[in-house]
């Protein structure tokens, strides 16, 4: 369920990261995504990064959406 939104990892300090979305920045815990790197986008849920967003898959989904909308 649950509100989780994509946020950009700007910097990492131990188990905390500074993340940014639309100009808003916040501290977030990366305890659940220890392999995250600066420049990655994560799904932010209640102050924790719960997953790393896959930009390749994101683009694939957009491609699929465009294709499906042309074909009936």
């Amino acid at each position: 369920m649950c509100l989780a939104i994509p946020a950009l990892v700007k910097s990492i300090d131990g188990q905390q990261a500074e993340v940014e979305i639309g100009g808003v920045t916040r501290q977030a815990s990366i305890q659940l995504t220890p392999e995250v790197k600066v420049g990655d986008y994560v799904l932010l849920h209640t102050g924790y990064a719960i997953n790393i967003i896959d930009p390749v898959e994101a683009e694939e989904t957009l491609k699929l959406l465009r294709e499906l909308s042309e074909v009936y």
Binding site: C2, G22, V24, R26
Partner: protein, 334 residues
């Protein structure tokens, strides 16, 4: 001079008098206030508008303003929403003992700046000091008096089908700016409260059109609540267009983070003007020339359908109800 406000400051004795004479009067002084009589005496002619409001915002300092600025602008705007020219304000403080005097001085200075911009005078006041823990640093009450020019007839009950609904700028700045500084939230937003006196904007609208039917400022409860109030009072429907709602990207992002809808977030420098369709464009042009209306836009219209309710055309083109705010806005996980 003590560096913190003490109970003695509110007891009517020497400390209190010093506070008034050394802090309040020099900053806010005017011929009526300076008399320091039990009440202010002045002459007025015409239809009077009278309002009161109490301010309990926490924290008392936030990006773009403080409780003092809010206390002036909020009451000035309540008068302005009736088309009144605001004239005089009363100012009451309930101060929690221990408040640093420097903070009080900053707030008094904000009050002065806001009153000066709005062109109003603080003519009477009161100060009470209460025990620690019984007031959250500082509460302020302001009451205001203004004069409604002849022939001006603005009321929430005057909206007519066909009228256009105009908003003067971005939604949600104030609520998000305040929340960002509240303990437990701590996110950084490049957003300041939009707190501002709107009386001059209103008089410019009035000088442009005699067909201004309703004015309201969407404060607590946000735009959604205000539009519902108007729809009910006038017994009309209101339709708004999601794509036309102006929201700053950072406010949108903060709302996404917390699970808020910008339609419900408080504003303190916004107004909704409901205007006859013939005058909508010229009112819009005039508003855009005022510093508090540069982003003004038509966001919807008044309709015969679904009286008392507000609907919104979504980004996908379908329609849904926009209800009033229930309870308070709380961040959610789901």
């Amino acid at each position: 001079m003590e560096d913190r406000i003490l109970l003695a400051h509110g007891s009517g004795g020497k400390l209190g008098h010093d506070l008034i004479e050394k802090n309040f009067v020099p900053a806010l002084g005017n011929p009526i206030l300076n008399k320091l009589d039990d009440s202010a005496v002045f002459e007025l002619c015409g239809r009077l508008s009278f309002t009161t409001d109490s301010y309990t915002v926490s924290p008392i300092f936030f990006p773009g303003g403080d409780i003092g600025k809010l206390a002036v602008c909020g009451t000035v705007n309540d008068l302005a929403m009736m088309g009144a020219t605001p004239l005089y304000l009363s100012l009451s403080f309930i101060i929690e003992e221990g408040l640093p005097v420097t903070e009080l001085e900053k707030i008094i200075n904000s009050i002065y700046q806001a009153a000066d911009e709005a062109g109003v005078k603080i003519v009477t006041g009161d100060t009470k000091v209460v025990n620690q823990g019984t007031a959250d640093k500082l509460f302020i009450n302001t009451s205001g008096i203004g004069i409604v020019p002849p022939k001006v007839n603005i009321s929430g009950a005057n909206a007519k089908p066909g009228d256009k609904v105009i908003l003067n700028g971005n939604l949600g700045d104030h609520g998000i700016a305040v929340l960002s500084k509240r303990q437990g939230f701590e996110f950084n937003v490049p957003i300041e409260s939009d707190c501002a006196p709107l009386n001059r904007l209103v008089s410019e609208i009035l000088s442009t059109s005699v067909n201004l039917h309703c004015l309201r400022d969407p404060t607590r409860g946000g735009l959604a609540t205000t539009l519902n109030e108007l729809a009910r009072q006038s017994n009309v429907g209101i339709k708004i267009d999601e794509a036309s709602l102006p929201v700053n990207e950072a406010v949108q992002a903060a709302c996404e983070l917390l699970g808020f809808d910008p339609l419900y977030v408080a504003n303190e420098g916004k107004l909704v003007a409901v205007v006859a369709p013939s005058d909508a464009d010229k009112v819009l042009d005039r508003m855009r020339q005022n510093r508090y209306g540069t982003k003004a836009s038509i966001i919807g219209e008044v309709v015969k359908e679904h009286p008392g309710k507000v609907t919104m055309k979504t980004l996908l083109g379908s329609s849904r109800i926009v209800d009033m705010l229930v309870g308070e806005l709380l961040p959610r996980i789901c």
